[in-house]
């Protein structure tokens, strides 16, 4: 996983709520068996509209997406995270996230940041006023900074540490192989098997 410490750069305001993962990456893109090439699928239906915010040149190269509540609801497709990352996003800021999307993001090193609805609105307005505005997302200090403003966000210590170090879960879990063996030895014998 890609480590995340601090990102400073431009942001894009996405003034929509309930941005489900079908919008982030429509199902037709899920047929690929590789992990690459999903940037073209990001918001592919919405990008057909020339007015869509990602088509506006002033937001080109932004690394922070600032969206309305309930971002990443719906399908568990991790392709949504891959698409956002491959397009160039490092952070998504929203008042609420779908649980599975948020989880998938932290496995991949895309930082989901929860701010209040008012803070998100304020940040979106600031970015619309000045698309070149520098937004800093600081995971060490757990804060977002822009234009003299500082907004603190919460993230649990363990996830923060994993993101800062860029650690994958599987390697961490396999350190506890003995505990897994012990648990398995005590499992109820009538539990079903598939083979």
């Amino acid at each position: 996983m890609e480590a995340f410490t601090t990102y400073s750069g431009r942001a894009v305001p996405l003034r929509r709520s309930n941005v489900d993962t079908d919008q982030i990456i429509p199902a037709v893109w899920l047929k690929q068996v590789s992990r690459t090439g999903f940037d073209k699928g990001l918001f592919s239906a919405w990008r057909e509209d020339p007015e869509f915010v990602l088509n506006q040149p002033q937001y080109e190269g932004a690394g922070v997406l600032v969206a309305g509540p309930d971002f990443g609801t719906g399908s568990s497709r991790e392709h949504a995270v891959w698409a956002l990352q491959q397009y160039g996003f490092r952070v998504v800021i929203a008042p609420r996230f779908g649980d599975i999307f948020r989880n998938n993001s932290t496995k991949m090193g895309l930082l989901p940041v929860v701010l209040t609805g008012e803070q998100v609105e304020e940040l979106q307005t600031a970015v619309e006023k000045d698309p070149a505005l520098e937004v800093t997302v600081d995971l060490e200090k757990r804060e977002v900074r822009w234009d003299g403003r500082t907004a603190a966000f919460e993230i649990d210590d363990y996830t923060r540490w994993r993101l800062l170090e860029g650690l994958d879960d599987i390697g961490l879990t396999l350190r506890h192989a003995d505990a897994i063996n012990d648990y398995e030895a005590g499992r109820t014998p009538w539990l079903p098997v598939t083979l």
Partner: protein, 498 residues
């Protein structure tokens, strides 16, 4: 330690849809005598390792795999040189991409074909049992688990699919995961988890005639919102839930994710045991007795505390349909398309404005006046035998309206076979509807079954998102009974209207 809003489990005489949450916080785990919820009991029984400041490591009893969210996970194993730790706790099926016609021919779409062939190779290389197209065990992943008796009370079940919540109908803790987590479970048979909060949705009283499990869950989602269950495991309780069949319970738990909850659960009871007994993977003999004894203990203790509670009065429910582009945008069929200006919350107002524009609807139009082009019956929400019986019951002696196409897609090959043995296919075909092979089909349009831009459907599936059933398609979520009645009139209709 968990600090949160609390409410007590034992309650009486509550009004409809009361958001019950007291303000004072309770520290649950420090009160040793306090009872536990069903979700907590199942969760606690699967903790492999617990350490201060780290997520719990949770053991997974059953891992369901399909072709869409697994190829990159198997690739990850290959790159790291890791095996599948417990292929005997893993099962795979082909469902999302499969065509629902011409099963004996190769899949026409080369990209879909490659994905299905990749799953076959991965299952063969790693020793995972696969139910491929054409196999009588094939079907939608959430239909075949229960059908085979693999889903049992008290288990942990995961799948790279958000509708894994379906299996919670058995009192299992079942939730959807992403591909990184699929790889993690394949490699370790565990998942790091932070213990979720618990939420009770209690449905008091009996469902009125003509009101189904689908109407109930659509009404629940409209009540608590698409984010209402975030961070929680929902337990569905109360008389109306207890009265549901296993298939109805699966429909309810299936759509928990549409209310934001990763998992929904219903405590196992005689209905559950009756469904499971004799299924291929269910315990037998003395094992069965031991299992039932354990399963009977899987209920929320009377003194357990939920972090959040919602109470709904079943008597007030009617057939329910969606008008918008998220599953929370639903109303009773007797209502009209809402005026966006009627929403106080600016976010909801803006969402409604956008939804009406996308859906091509005007505020004030009676929902019963909305004409559809296509009716889809199927999916992990409503593709089981009882759903098909409900559809055939309405279609018997009637015709699908001119200009309306109706697809009926069984959830699995066994459901299809059973329906054919009961003669349901003959009734459905005689009405003018198309009787298809098993798969996810038009629920998410990864196979050739899809809407064209602007086409409008009444669908028994779970998501009315923009473009979900095909780019530009417009979806109204409905129950199987409403779907069938709608096919007959060509407008959103309940069977009682016919």
């Amino acid at each position: 330690m968990q600090v949160g809003q609390t409410g007590t489990a034992g309650r009486t005489g509550a009004p409809r849809a009361t958001q019950r949450a007291t303000k004072h916080a309770t520290i649950k785990d420090e009160v040793g005598a306090m009872g536990r919820t069903l979700a907590e009991k199942v969760y606690d029984a699967h903790v492999v390792r617990r350490a201060e400041g780290e997520p719990d490591l949770l053991y997974i009893d059953l891992h369901l795999v399909h072709e869409v969210t697994s190829p990159q996970a198997f690739d990850g194993l290959r790159m790291a040189g890791r095996p599948v730790r417990r292929p005997d706790l893993t099962i795979a099926t082909e469902d999302h991409n499969v065509p629902t016609t011409d099963l004996l021919k190769p899949i026409a779409d080369p990209v879909s074909r490659t994905q299905v062939e990749t799953l076959r190779k991965n299952c063969s290389d790693f020793g995972v049992r696969l139910h491929p197209m054409g196999d009588d065990g094939q079907g939608i992943v959430h239909v075949i688990g229960p059908q085979l008796g693999l889903t049992q009370p008290g288990m942990t079940v995961v799948c790279g699919d958000s509708h894994t919540s379906t299996h919670g109908a058995f009192g299992a803790l079942a939730f959807g995961i992403g591909t990184s987590e699929v790889e993690h479970v394949l490699a370790t048979q565990t998942l790091p988890q932070i213990k979720p909060k618990t939420m009770a949705v209690t449905v008091d009283g009996a469902l009125p005639d003509g009101v189904t499990a689908k109407d109930l869950i659509l009404a629940i989602i409209a009540e608590i919102g698409t984010g209402g269950g975030q961070g929680h495991i929902v337990e569905y309780r109360g008389e109306a839930v207890r009265s549901l069949s296993m298939e109805g319970r699966m429909t309810v738990c299936n759509m928990s994710i549409e209310a934001g909850a990763r998992a929904g659960m219903i405590a196992p009871d005689e209905t559950t045991f009756e469904y499971l007994k004799g299924r291929p993977h269910a315990p037998r003999g003395a094992d069965w007795d031991a299992a039932v004894e354990y399963w009977t203990s899987l209920r929320t203790d009377d003194d357990a505390v939920f972090d959040k509670e919602v109470v709904i009065d079943a008597a007030e429910l009617t057939p329910f349909v969606t008008w918008g582009t998220n599953p929370g945008q639903g109303l009773p069929l007797g209502d009209s398309v809402p005026d966006p200006a009627s929403f106080d919350d600016p976010v909801q107002r803006q969402s409604a404005e956008r939804a009406l524009e996308y859906m091509g609807l005007s505020a004030g139009t009676p929902l019963r006046d909305i004409a559809v082009d296509t009716v889809f019956v199927g999916s992990c929400t409503n593709g089981r035998i009882e759903d098909l019986r409900a559809v055939a019951g309405v279609l018997e002696g009637r015709r699908v309206a001119d200009g309306v196409r109706m697809l009926v897609v069984p959830g699995s090959m066994r459901v299809k076979k059973q329906a054919e043995e009961e003669g349901l296919d003959a009734v459905i075909s005689a009405s003018g509807a198309e009787w298809r092979e098993a798969g996810c089909s038009m629920c998410l349009a990864m196979n050739p079954d899809k809407l064209t831009p602007g086409e409008r459907s009444a669908s028994t599936s779970n998501r009315n998102f923009e473009g979900r059933q095909g780019p530009g398609g417009r979806t109204h979520l409905v129950s199987p009974a409403v779907a069938a009645a709608t096919a007959v009139t060509g407008r959103l209709t309940a069977p009682a209207d016919l």
